[in-house]
Each structure stands twice: as C-alpha cells, then as structure tokens.
Amino acid sequence: MDPIQIIFIVVALVVLAAAVMVVTTPNLVRAALWLVLALFGTAGAYVLLNAGFIAVAQVVIYIGAISILMIFAVMLTRRVMTDSGPQTHQTWWLPALLSAALFAGLVWMLSGWSGFEASMPAYSDANQVVELGVALVSPEGFLIPFEVASVLLSAALIGAIYVAWDRD
C-alpha cells in the first residue's frame, strides 16, 4: 500500500462519515459543523489530485463564507434553543433505497467504461495558477463564461439582499 493510497482512504472515510452525520443528526448546528468537516476533507481530496488552487479556493469559499452563512441561517430560524420533533420523514427508507440504487447504478455503469482503471498521467503544477488565470481571461479561453459567472454572482447578491430585506 502506497502512503498516498492510505492518505486517500483516510480522507475518503472522513468525508463520507461526516456526510452521513450531516444527513442524519437531528441537531442542525451540529450538522452544519459536520458539513464543515466534510468540506475540509474535500479540500484534502483536491490536494491529492494536484489541484492546489482549487483546494484553497474551496476552503475560502465554502468554509470561510458558505458554512458561516449556513450556521447563521440555522441560528436565525429556530424557535427554541433545542430542536423539536423528528428531523426526517416517516418514510425515510424510500430515499435510502433510492440513493443506494443510484450509487449501485452509477458504479455499475462506470465500471463498464474502458478508462475506469486509468492511472494518473504525469503533471507538473508549477505554472498551474498562471495557466488558470490566462485561461479565465483570454478571449480564446473562457472569458465569456467568466463574465457570465460574475453577472450571475451580482444578480444573486442583489436578489438575496432584496428577498431578505425586512419590509415592515
């Protein structure tokens, strides 16, 4: 067993365990904190894939901003300090069956693909950030999706402020 394989197994187990805790724990603030752990583990998975910029961007965007937003939303929308009632539907076995079937289906379908057991090609990430930057702003690259994404974020910003404004 390679040390890298051991690290990957540890990271994957941490993320999956944290994800299971997110969807099952009845205490919502705990669920938000388990989500933070899952997102951290995902950043670790990105580092294993040599995508350093994406890993750090994941920590900044998800853990620095989105998790705090989720925790605020949980804390601002509860009536009492303790949660009340069951947090999953009574027919929870049906979604469980459905997601297990989806997982099995995805794995079976992908294992029939020829490139399923591919190994990592060589890659040096010395110029990774420069290439990504050039790709994002060059007209032959991805300039238009970049601009559309910024318009989307502006629209989301304005929309969120307007929707959540206290108009009484």
């Binding site: 705990r30 904190l33 961007a57 920590v59 901003a65 998790s67 705090i68 605020f72």
Partner: protein, 407 residues
Amino acid sequence: MDFLTNPVDAIREWLLGLMANMPAPWPDVIVNLLGVVVVASFGLGLVIILVWVERKVAARFQDRFGPNRVGPYGLFQTVADILKLFTKEDTTPDNADKPVYNLAPILSLFSVLLIWAVIPFSKDWLGTDLNVGVLYIVAVGSLGALAVLMAGWSSNNKFALLGAFRTVAQLVSYEVPLVISILIPVLLARSMGVHAIVDAQDTFFGMFFFMAPIAAVIFFISSIAEVGRTPFDLLEAESEIVAGFHIEYSGAKFAMIFAGEFLHAFTIAVLTATLFFGGWRGPGAEAYPILGWVYFMAKSLGVYLIVSWIRSTLPRIRIDHMLSFNWKYLTPLALATLIVTALLTKILEGQAVWYQSLVMFLSNVVLFLIANEIVKWRESKKPGRQVVGQPRPVARPPAEPAAEAEA
C-alpha cells in the same frame, strides 16, 4: 562560521547524517516533522515575550512603568499569568454543547498557527513553498471566524451569542478590503507565492510599500479589524457586551483564546512586513541567512510596535461607524487602487524600478486625495444640526436706562 551564518541548514545536515541508515523516505519525513514542531513552538514561545512587550509598551504610553517586580524588568510576568490561568477552575456552563465548547479555543489557536507555515523567515528558511500562499493565508484566516461562532453558540448564553454574531459580522466584513488589498502585491510580484513576493522586492525603493502605500495601509487597518484589537475591539472589551463571545471561558481555554489573539496580532505584523516591507530582505541577507532572520524580526517588531501604539492611543469605534467605514470607504478605495495599479503595472512594464515606484506612489497619493474630497463632499451634503423650536430665553439686564432715568 558555517553554523553561525546558517544554523538551520547546519542542524538539518547533521540530523540527516545521523539517520543515514534508515530506509528511504523516513529521514526526510522525520526532519520535516521536526521542522513543523520548531515553527509551531517558535510561534507559541513568541507569545510569552509578546505579552510582556505589549504590557510594557502600553504602560509607557500611559506614563507608568508596567510590570517590573516579577523577574528582571518584569520579564517573568507572563509566566506568572499563565500559571494563574492554568490553576483557575475550568468551568463548563450548564447545557453547553461540550464537544463544540471544547473545540472552539483549539480551532481559534490552530487557525493562527497555520499561517506560520508559509512565511519565509530568511532565504530558504520557510515551512512550505506553496505557490498559492497568499490565498492560503486568506483561507486560514477565515477559519477564525468559524471558531468564534462555535464559541459563542456553544456557551448557551444569549450575550455570548450576540457577541459572536457581531464579531463574525465584523470579521467577514473586513475580509473584503483585506483580500482586495492583498491582491496588489500579488499583482506587482506576478505570483501568489509569499516567497515570490519577497523575492520581487529587490531594492529599497522596490519595496511594495513605496509602490502601493494605500494597499499597505488598507491591509494594515483591515488586519487590525480582523484580529479585534483597539480601535476595533468593541466585541470583546469588558465594558461593552460583557466581554463578548468568550464570557463563559475561564482557565486554560481562555488562555488559549488569549494566546491566539496575541499571536494573531504579531502574525499580522509579520505579514505586513513580509508583503509590503520586504520580509527578510536587507543588506547582506542573501549571503548570511541569519542576518535575514534578524531583519525579519526587526521589521515585524517595528510594525507590532505601531499596532501597540495605535492600541494605546485611539478610542474605540462604534459598530455602525466601523461597518460604514468598511463598506463606504475602505472597499471602494481598495477596488480603485487595484484597478489603477493593474493599469499602471501594464503601462510601465520594463521601466526602471525607481521610476515605477515614483509613478505608482504619486498615483496612490492622487487617489487618496480624491477619496478625501469625496468624503468631504458627502459630509457637506448631510443636513447640519437643526434648531428645533423657539430659541431659548436668555436673561438680560433691563433694556431702557434712559426711561428709568426719566421716571
């Protein structure tokens, strides 16, 4: 002589020589782990000296001596403080969420120590050579906000929760000018790695402080707000919301939060010195790495002294003033500086360094003057103080001495 000029490399060679018989990856792994321990211990050990420096400096600004009884010049005062904090009772509030309550101070100290991994202490003396170092610093700095929220919520105390909300609002707001102003050295050095930013500050006039003074000042002010020191310490001052998010912490956990804050204050001094003043650069620093470390510590301590100076001098800022200062002044100014710097960097490509520095410095001065004019114009459009009602009666002597003389 070799050991004196470059102790880190000398010790490293000696350790690798000791472990030459071990199988292949282990000597490097062990030496790297020892390096991690050294950097973390350096940071934590520095807190002990920093608390003493802080108390002495604050005392001198207030025209008194400061601690001078425990040890020579009061040097062991911090040890006495730590002993006191560790022997205090370690209370946990009723109905608190125990795992989260215990994890919050650890996370708060952890997020500060992680920043020390990418700072270059001297030429080739650095933790790790990330080429996205600056973004890593921003990412790790935002973990502190999460720790504050965890601490405030798990204390099962409404005031702690309110204090935590306010703190997170301040921290998240001041991250915006921080990130924008940190992009300016990245722009000037053409790389996001911290070692590359230090390497690009070759000469004295090539220091990024001369090329982008507004960015340095905005970074400095936003970092002070991120740490939560005066004048931005509304959130944890004892006369305000009863010490804020760490009301329910006592003993060793409070010591961890306290140490994390002091270390964070020194870390922002280190970051300002590294990004804007050239870090370990100085005469003779390339040949003798130990001189580089001396310059680095001198510059960081100089900036830390300025942080202490500001703390001892300025009054606290009210929360609505603080937020309006951020969103209506710092963020637009940072964005404007970024745009102007990006334009000028492209236009002045290839000129001499002193010429670039001069033009960019002048452009920053012009931007600052324009920002001042805009602020003055905004203030003049506000309605002045209005007089409501009748003017008050004022006592006067009787009006007509001639009529009285006649009568």
